[in-house]
């Protein structure tokens, strides 16, 4: 046909042939010159736009905050079509041609094709969570669906029951709510209603419950997002909703139950770690972490919350293993450091063992060694593959006394070779996890000295943030290789390393990239929008990478895979990714200007 977009890919391929050919009859083509406003913030969207040519930018009403960019075959704005107005502003950056599917026609497709509407549900949820992440209101948390697990069976009484009896029943059943069956339908009465009726109102213990029941029930559908239930509760200032299935009441959903659904898993694992009596117990608990990550990811838990949780659990596992392996008398003789992404608290799926040891006394070294070997073995059995670069305490290069470390760091800082630089970078993200953490302080001071932050050292350090090209083409599209991009080289490393360099220069003691960014913001080194942009970008990279890594969990160590497949990404993610890569590119430029790297 004459439609110039590929309709044989999702979501259009989900339509039946009839609907698809109907769709091709319903598309209009609209031209926008560069700079033209396509949808104004707060206005109604005429329909769903599908970009044929050109680039469209989504910003907030003032145009200051950029959310995403859209190019060939990207769709926007699904939410604006379904809701009455569009929250954001859409502007053509170049001359742009869009196909326009009128709102009524899009809704008709959603109505007529289940597959098609299911496709847009996660899109909506992802959009929602994205906006929430930014606005920090409702957590992305609650994307699980309403099912048996979350429901409470309702407690029914008849309308004739008196208030005293209702109160007794609630007490007996340990429930704060009853449903009232009367001739005019089902109503709801809560503990609060009872209190208000008797203490604030004129009702007595003998009054009939039907007189105080609330008969306009706030309901949700079984199988709907918990998120929607939460929204309803917030809207109506209530703590429970009635769940309907095919027109019948199937149960009640309580706010408190809902919130506990999400923490149980991690609690169970944390308990197992604490209670582990042997290394075998601990191994079982450690191996559970992978499935915890899967669950959290499926439920759409915020990336940042997830990183914190997993980091804490990972470190707890390390500490428990250390406590189980090392005899008491040697536990204060050394300090175990985790390095790299684990040290920064940004590791989610296990990558490789990056660790080091500081020992207290030379003469205890030989006594410690066999236990370190055991610890190394334990980590292997927990699922941490050995570090291919040998950054492990089993390697003599990564086990020193305090003085030994200080000398080593001194040598790294003056060597100026790429190897020394990389080692220094790894060490800068060190975090003590077990043993005597005091040992780490003098080591850290070896590089946290103001005179070292001279521009030359930092500049030399900053340079490697530029070593990989951002995978964007000249025209600003994602540059893929066989449908993939290396997200570590292309996106994560430049941010992490650039921020690390700035943190070094400005003497910031935190290891976590997001926390470093916050310090840099507080010190006015980076502008608010740069910090926000880099935070969003890094979290997005980690989130997309994790999602794809989890899909390949059949492979050994999916955590090591840095290749993102563009084809298996939703259009909304692809456009967010492209936008995030643009931010990386801008950040690199900022580093070049800051450290005068033009001539390096």
């Amino acid at each position: 046909m004459t439609i110039q977009i590929d309709l044989s890919q999702p979501p259009f391929s989900l339509l039946s042939n009839d609907l698809l050919s109907w769709l091709t009859q319903r598309l209009d083509l609209v031209f926008f010159p560069a700079g033209a406003e396509i949808i104004a913030a707060g206005s109604e969207s005429p329909g769903l736009f599908i970009v044929y040519k050109g680039v469209v930018e989504e910003t907030d009403a003032s145009g200051e905050r950029v959310y995403a960019q859209y190019a060939h075959e990207d769709l926007f704005d699904v939410r604006a079509v379904l809701e009455s107005t569009c929250k954001h502003r859409y502007v053509a950056l170049q001359e742009t041609l869009c196909y326009l599917l009128k709102a009524a026609d899009f809704i008709r497709l959603l109505d007529q094709s289940t597959d098609f509407s299911v496709y847009f549900r996660p899109d909506l949820a992802a959009k929602q969570s994205l906006i929430d992440e930014k606005e920090g209101s409702v957590a992305e948390f609650i994307l699980a669906r309403i099912d048996e697990e979350t429901l409470r069976p309702p407690l029914y009484v008849t309308g004739q029951t008196n208030l005293k009896r209702v109160a007794q029943l609630m007490d007996e059943r340990n429930s704060d709510v009853v449903l009232v069956r009367t001739a005019r339908g089902v109503g709801i009465v809560t503990g609060t209603d009872l209190l208000k009726a008797t203490l604030l109102g004129d009702f007595t213990k003998q009054s009939k419950v039907s007189e105080i029941g609330q008969f306009e029930l706030i309901t949700v559908e079984y199988g709907d997002f918990l998120f929607n239930a939460l929204l309803k509760m917030t809207q109506h200032h209530i703590e429970r909703v009635v769940v309907m299935r095919d027109g019948d009441i199937v149960g009640l959903l309580e706010l408190t139950d809902m919130l506990s659904v999400f923490s149980t898993h991690s609690h169970v694992i944390a308990m197992r770690i604490e209670q582990a009596k042997t290394l075998d117990d601990l191994t079982i608990a450690a191996q559970r972490l992978q499935s915890l990550i899967e669950t959290l990811s499926e439920q759409g838990v915020k990336m940042q919350a997830m990183m914190e949780l997993i980091t804490r659990l990972n470190r707890r596992v390390m500490q428990r293993a250390f406590e189980l392996i090392f005899p008491k008398r040697l536990q204060q003789s050394c300090c175990i450091l985790v390095l790299g992404s684990e040290g920064r608290g940004e590791q989610i799926l296990k990558t490789d063992q990056d660790n080091a040891v500081i020992y207290k006394h030379e003469h205890e070294l030989e006594a410690i060694r066999p236990f370190l070997q055991q610890l190394h073995q334990a980590l292997l059995s927990f699922g941490y593959p050995p570090c291919p670069g040998g950054v492990m305490f089993t390697n003599d290069a990564w086990i020193h006394s305090v003085e030994g470390w200080q000398q080593k760091i001194q040598r790294w800082l003056t060597a100026g070779t790429p190897d020394a630089m990389m080692n220094m970078a790894i060490m800068m993200d060190a975090e003590p996890v077990s043993g005597d953490a005091e040992l780490f302080l003098p080591v850290k001071h070896a590089w946290q000295r103001p005179e070292l932050r001279s521009s030359m050292t930092s500049a030399w350090f900053a340079k490697s943030a530029l070593q990989f090209n951002t995978p964007l083409t000249f025209l600003g599209k994602i540059r893929e290789e066989h449908g993939h991009i290396d997200i570590k080289k292309g996106g994560i490393f430049p941010i992490v390393h650039g921020v690390r360099t700035l943190a070094f220069e400005f003497g910031i003691d935190d290891c976590n990239t997001l926390k470093r960014l916050q310090h840099l913001q507080a010190l006015n080194v980076l502008h608010d929008e740069v910090v926000q942009g880099l935070t969003d970008a890094l979290l997005l990279f980690l989130r997309i990478r994790l999602r794809q890594q989890l899909q390949q969990s059949a492979v050994d160590n999916p955590g090591l895979n840095q290749q993102l497949s563009l084809a298996s990404m939703r259009s909304v993610d692809r456009s967010l990714l492209r936008h995030a890569l643009h931010r990386v590119k801008k950040f690199k430029q900022l580093l070049i200007n800051h450290y005068h790297l033009e001539n390096f």
């Binding site: 004459t2 319903r26 209009d28 031209f31 041609l97």
Partner: protein, 209 residues
């Protein structure tokens, strides 16, 4: 255009049948119909209509969803050269509509809106030949030729440059995608885009004096 009462008294004026009376009146809206005909061969007098497509353009909006795209059930012998252009074999035309129906629907579709196309004179001649034969009148609509608009604008902007006035040349010059070249509807969409862009430039030119 001359007022209707003047035109009525000019020699050779033919009033259309009752149904299309409105087509005589001058148009005051902001829509334009872009159309394109494919013929059995490139000949105003002999070429038989094989397909016709038209679309309404309102501002920057190309109303594809209301496009007209008709293939004509014509027994015309397929010209070996022309078929390489339009790819309409006799077999492809079997399921088409009759010429009379096509013209009837086209007239209903365009009304008195201006008609725009690429070398629109050719399409005008073809259509008038059929309309004359069937209903004894000729199109009164204003005709707009994108190649002419393009030439005028380009000469104004770059007076000394060589102009490529082929369809492909216009598409390249205006950075307009070529969509299914030589299917009537594909050409119509590209032409509509040329028109939208030209009127965009044109407005700027006028605005800047």
């Amino acid at each position: 255009m001359l007022p209707l009462w003047v035109r009525r008294h000019l020699p050779g004026f033919q009033a259309p049948p009752e149904r299309w009376q409105h087509m005589m009146h001058s148009y005051h809206g902001d829509e334009v119909v872009v159309l394109d005909c494919e013929t059995s061969r490139f000949d105003k007098k002999q070429g038989e209509l094989l397909s016709v497509a038209a679309v309404i353009v309102k501002g920057k909006h190309i109303m594809l969803s209301k496009a007209l795209d008709l293939t004509i059930r014509s027994a015309a012998v397929t010209d070996a050269q022309a078929v390489k252009v339009h790819f309409l074999r006799q077999e492809d035309r079997l399921h088409g509509v009759s010429t009379a129906e096509a013209i009837e629907r086209l007239l209903d579709f365009i009304g008195n809106r201006p008609i725009c196309g690429f070398y629109i004179e050719y399409d005008r001649a073809i259509l008038n030949r059929y309309i004359q034969e069937l209903y004894q009148f000729q199109l009164y609509n204003r005709f707009i030729d994108v190649s002419e608009l393009y030439a005028r604008l380009s000469r104004k902007k770059h007076p000394e440059s060589e102009l490529d006035l082929t369809f492909e040349g216009l598409a390249a010059g205006l950075d307009v995608p070529i969509i299914d070249r030589h299917t009537a509807l594909g050409d119509v969409i590209s032409t509509a885009l040329m028109y939208v862009k030209l009127s965009e430039f044109g407005l700027k030119e006028i605005a800047h004096g």
